[in-house]
């Protein structure tokens, strides 16, 4: 389950970058995945669906942008934030 490992790593990266407490507010996670990244897209999408809809996430969905080469990176996230000053 290579793709599940990647999905879990995406979760770890987001926890590291935006903090555990805010993961529940993430609504979209954008990834760039290359055609030569060694990743099966549907399998990755399924794995991300599992990771991003379970604790500490609640309602996030993954948007995978297919790119050339072997890129495999988290591009950006969209998050609902109540704090207008954030």
């Amino acid at each position: 389950m290579h793709e599940m490992s990647i999905a879990l790593e995406v979760g770890r990266i987001l926890e590291d970058r935006i903090g555990l407490a805010r993961l529940a507010r993430v609504i979209t996670v954008h990834l760039e995945v290359g055609a030569e990244a060694g990743v099966e897209f549907d399998s990755l999408q399924s794995s991300l669906d599992v990771v991003l809809t379970n604790t500490p996430f609640v309602q996030a969905k993954a948007e995978i942008q297919r790119v050339t080469g072997d890129a495999l990176r988290v591009s950006h996230v969209e998050i609902i934030d109540d704090d207008p000053h954030y």
């Binding site: 990834l31 990244a37 996230v77 609902i80």
Partner: protein
């Protein structure tokens, strides 16, 4: 309630690559050469290592980390040929080894008395290509029973590898395997790839392989 965009721009493999750097640093401190053997299941990696240990075990100090989804059969087989630690990693379902597992395994290996470290990866020609383990080189093993088109089907692995071993050549007379086509396919994917033809079972080609290892271990 507002929707914000937060830029992340982080490679998914970044953490693994950081740990692979730690592996590389520890290997360099002890002047240990690490080779990552990758292949599909049943290509003959373990037999190759058994034969290698039998030939080189008295000349250089070889340690081995084996990875399998289940069982430590490979480690048990190899342990019969060496009193050096053969560290088994049972991945429990994961299709590849990662740098953190290798870093943990290194804690249990006497690197001071090791010249050469083999990492026998999980049998899989897809996933291990994407994971840097801190090794000096990936060596892809494929065999004549697998078909000539393996390099075309798994180009990333053959591109990542520095050496390809075509194993089980003793079986060529019994198979409809076109060696020229296999070599052409290999060159098409990676023109720089050095290809060794050998049979780990009969020993054919093993001398060249062992000479290459001796040069690697002392470099």
């Amino acid at each position: 309630m507002t929707i914000h965009t937060i830029e992340i721009r982080e490679r998914v493999m970044a953490k693994n690559d950081e740990l692979a750097g730690d592996v590389r640093q520890r290997l360099a401190q002890h002047r240990v050469t690490a080779l990552n053997l990758v292949s599909s299941p049943g290509s003959g990696k373990t037999t190759l290592l058994e034969n290698t240990l039998a030939r080189l075990g008295g000349q250089i100090q070889i340690a081995i980390v084996t990875g399998d989804v289940q069982t430590q059969n490979d480690a048990d087989r190899l342990a019969k040929h060496t009193d050096k630690l053969v560290q088994a990693i049972v991945t429990g379902g994961a299709c590849h080894l990662d740098a953190r597992q290798i870093l943990t395994a290194l804690d249990r290996i006497d690197l001071t008395n090791t010249d050469l470290l083999f990492i026998e990866n999980v049998g899989n020609l897809v996933c291990p290509a994407s994971w840097d383990l801190g090794e000096h080189a990936k060596i892809v093993v494929f065999s004549v029973t697998e078909g000539e088109d393996k390099p075309l089907k798994y180009p990333k692995m053959f591109r990542e590898a520095r050496i390809a071993i075509l194993n089980k050549i003793d079986l060529l007379p019994h198979l409809q395997f076109d060696l020229d086509v296999a070599l052409a396919n290999t060159r098409e994917v990676n023109p720089e790839l050095e290809v060794l033809l050998l049979s780990a079972a009969t020993g054919e080609g093993m001398n060249e392989w062992c000479q290459l290892l001796l040069r690697s271990a002392k470099s």
